[in-house]
């Protein structure tokens, strides 16, 4: 049995080693490069991107969709596992919530990067028109940011109080900060009951809000006439895709943190096994909606739809399409269905592929459709017939991804990524039951 001291020593935030410092600096460098590129975009206009009148949305939008999708892990893992009383969630929920918060914050920033007139941001409130799906997004994203933040913060309170005590002698300033953030947590009965109730309410709220968020994201596309977007399947298709992207990201990051912080005792193969089962469920669900989205329409495709599907199946986008379908969906399903596939290392590799495939999947949702309008593309320069992101777009997009990782890194550095109080409580409980069993 681990004593509480050992628990604290293991789980309290630790200073980064050399690798951590290099990692953080690398992220900061990428972010600076992106900020410079963005300033240049502000000055010159979006001419610095490769978007034009036909490919009028590009990786800013697909990256935005990716962030929104990834943020879904907050409602799935945290809220659903909580409400279904899956106790194995304890060591991974905080990481999931951190990912969700970082992703949804970056989604909000990314969509503003796509706006050609960010100086008129306030018009979205002053002149808001409720029938526009963008207005729905303006409402739902801040709501989801707030809920994600609270779902991360409220369960943290007892841990912050513990850390306040833990650092009292060695690091008084840090201790003071933890104290302030712990909102005077004493662990009294009243406090505990308020906390439990609040978390319960937030967990209940974040599920519908998360579902609505993903759906609105889908409606940004399906409220247009465009082939490939104008689909009733798009809402659930996006939800299922978000399920995959979110858990993929969770698996990957859990693995890295486990290695970096040597948490093998806390995040065990059992947890990876459970996460693997969750991911395979997500992939199977997504596969189902993919069949609905791509395979079944092929039977009754109109000429325009057939052109669209052909560029995906056999045409220009075929390599990418089959990479995201086979690499990001079929192979994970096959590997994760076996117990051996749900060991930490294979899970990490699969998780990484799933995340990369999820990102490109959104690119495939946005770009090909725009390049197949109803009227033929004529009278514009040859380069407008294609789209591939420019250097500016890559720099800025990389910076948003780096910023999301930096938020995660900073939170991991200063927060106990495995709930200390909860783990202690659970171990006590375990001790009690074993004692009872012995008697």
């Amino acid at each position: 049995m681990k004593s509480n001291d050992k628990l604290l020593k293991d789980l309290a935030p630790k200073k980064f080693g050399k690798l951590g410092v290099i990692w953080t600096s690398l992220l900061i460098v990428i972010i600076i490069a992106g900020v410079i590129a963005y300033i240049d975009q502000l000055i010159k206009g979006q001419i610095v991107t490769n978007m034009r009148d036909y490919a009028l949305w590009g990786i800013y939008i697909s990256n935005f969709v990716f962030f929104v999708a990834t943020s879904f892990v907050g409602s799935v893992t945290v809220a659903i596992l909580r409400l279904t009383k899956n106790t194995w969630r304890t060591p991974v929920v905080r990481i999931a919530e951190i990912i969700a918060l970082a992703a949804i914050v970056m989604a909000g920033i990314t969509i503003m990067i796509d706006m050609a007139r960010p100086d008129r941001l306030l018009n979205l409130f002053i002149h808001a028109r409720i029938q526009s799906p963008i207005t729905w997004d303006v409402i739902i994203i801040p709501t989801y940011i707030t809920l994600s933040f609270l779902l991360l913060y409220f369960p943290l309170l007892p841990d912050l109080a513990i850390l306040k005590e833990y650092y009292k002698k060695d690091k008084p300033t840090l201790s003071k900060w933890y104290g302030k953030l712990s909102l005077n947590w004493k662990g009294s009965k009243v406090q505990k009951s308020i906390q439990t109730k609040s978390i319960q309410i937030i967990a209940l709220m974040i599920i519908p809000v998360g579902l609505i968020l993903q759906t609105i994201d889908a409606w940004l596309f399906s409220t247009t006439y465009r082939i490939g977007w104008d689909s009733t399947n798009l809402g659930p298709y996006f939800i299922a895709g978000a399920f995959v992207a979110g858990i993929g990201a969770l698996v990957t990051i859990v693995y890295i943190i486990r290695r970096a912080y040597k948490l093998e005792d806390y995040i065990t193969e059992f947890h990876f096994d459970k996460l693997g089962k969750l991911l395979v469920l997500a992939c199977l669900t997504y596969l189902y909606f993919n069949i609905n989205e791509y395979l079944i329409p092929a039977f009754t495709a109109t000429e325009d739809e057939a052109t669209h599907l052909n560029t995906l199946f056999t045409g220009h986008y075929a390599p990418l399409f089959w990479f995201v379908t086979i690499g990001g969906l079929i192979i994970p399903i096959i590997v994760l269905l076996f117990k051996k596939g749900r060991k930490p290392l294979p899970m990490f590799i699969i998780g990484l592929i799933v995340v990369v495939a999820s990102w490109w999947k959104r690119y495939l949702i946005v770009t090909p459709t725009l390049l197949h309008p109803f009227l033929p593309i004529q009278g514009v320069p040859e380069s407008w017939h294609h789209y591939f992101p420019s250097v500016h777009e890559w720099l800025i997009t990389s910076a948003t991804l780096a910023m999301a990782l930096l938020i995660i890194t900073i939170l991991v550095r200063y927060l106990p990524i495995i709930p200390i109080q909860r783990t202690a409580d659970e171990q006590e409980e375990l001790l009690k039951t074993t004692k009872n069993a012995e008697q």
């Binding site: 034009r52 960010p118 008129r120 018009n123 963008i134 247009t224 006439y225 109803f374 004529q378």
Partner: protein, 318 residues
């Protein structure tokens, strides 16, 4: 007239306000007269005047008792307002595909008149062919000024709007540059100012108004055909209509049932009936204000247009 609900509601409210205003003012005036009628004439009368009350009966009033009532200022319903448009008009266009031979004068006039500096013209002449066996033809398109505009529905800030006279315009001083309207438009007629428009000094002193698109164009916002309200107000036809040497474009008012290409003036209904007019992608339900006449019995040779056809160019500069 199939205007959108919002407009008819606005109209209703507008009328209601006017009626109640008129009633109040009328009531005050009447009671004024009535009180004076009851009073004994103070001074010597200078003859009687016959007046009709609002319920139609005639009354005689001493002429000294008659005072002029200050009428409220004329309601602005008859005044031009950039978001409401010209009152009691509904602008339409008819494009006769049988006459088009890709002379591209329309495009040049439009580009010039709207100071278009980008690579994508607002008016394009497409080379069309439905299938291998059917004849190719030239099809000019510009903003279809739909009565159910998909672009207006998705705009989050009401920057693009539909007027009562049927015209769809863009307020470039409000547009946030999200390009959702461009994604929504099935006719691909919207054009974006990806950079600071290179219009030079021509538009420098121009005072911006949504009803003269391109004068000036605004960086990071959307542009498109505006149906030339700036010409209508001068009693002139849109640039493309006057420029076309073949009389392809007819412009007019649906309420007046009249369209003209500058030379001939025709009845809209009869023209659409006789020549089997249609609208682009009718099945989408966007209800365009632009009608097309099919390319039948052509007097022009399709091939003549091929010399001018440029697959990758629609503006002069590129």
């Amino acid at each position: 007239m199939k205007n959108n609900n919002k407009n008819s509601r606005r109209k209703f409210l507008d009328k209601g306000v006017k009626f109640s205003l008129a009633a109040v003012v009328g009531g005050i005036g009447l009671s004024n007269i009535a009180s004076k009628l009851n009073a004994k004439p103070a001074k010597g009368s200078e003859g009687k005047i016959e007046l009709m009350t609002t319920d139609g009966t005639l009354v005689e009033v001493d002429s000294t008792e008659v005072q002029e009532i200050n009428h409220p200022p004329k309601e602005d319903s008859n005044k031009y307002n950039v978001r409401e448009g010209f009152p009691n008009r509904k602008f339409v266009m008819v494009v006769d595909l049988a006459k088009c031979k890709n002379a591209l004068k329309c495009q040049q006039a439009c580009n010039k008149g709207h100071y278009i500096t980008g690579d994508n013209a607002w008016l394009k002449v497409y080379k069309m062919q439905e299938s291998k066996e059917t004849a190719p033809y030239w099809m000019p398109t510009q903003c279809q000024h739909c009565d159910q505009p998909a672009c207006v529905t998705v705009c989050p800030v009401d920057a693009t709007f539909k007027r009562r006279d049927g015209i769809v315009l863009i307020d470039n001083e409000r547009c946030i540059g999200c390009r959702f309207c461009m994604a929504a438009c099935p006719y691909s007629t919207r054009v974006f100012n990806w950079k600071e428009p290179d219009q030079g000094e021509i538009t420098l002193g121009a005072e911006y108004s949504p009803d003269y698109a391109g004068f000036p164009s605004v960086k990071g916002t959307v542009d498109k055909c505006d149906f030339c309200p700036h010409q209508i107000v001068k009693n002139e036809l849109p640039f493309c209509v006057t420029a076309c040497p073949n009389g392809v474009f007819y412009f007019g008012d649906k309420y007046e049932d009249t369209v003209t290409n500058g030379e001939v003036t025709l009845r809209l209904k009869k023209l659409l009936e006789d020549k089997a007019g249609y609208r682009l992608m009718e099945g989408l339900g966007t209800e365009p204000s632009v009608y097309y006449l099919p390319p039948v019995d052509r007097l022009v040779d399709f091939k003549e247009g091929l010399d001018k056809y440029k697959k990758f160019q629609s503006t002069e500069k590129s």
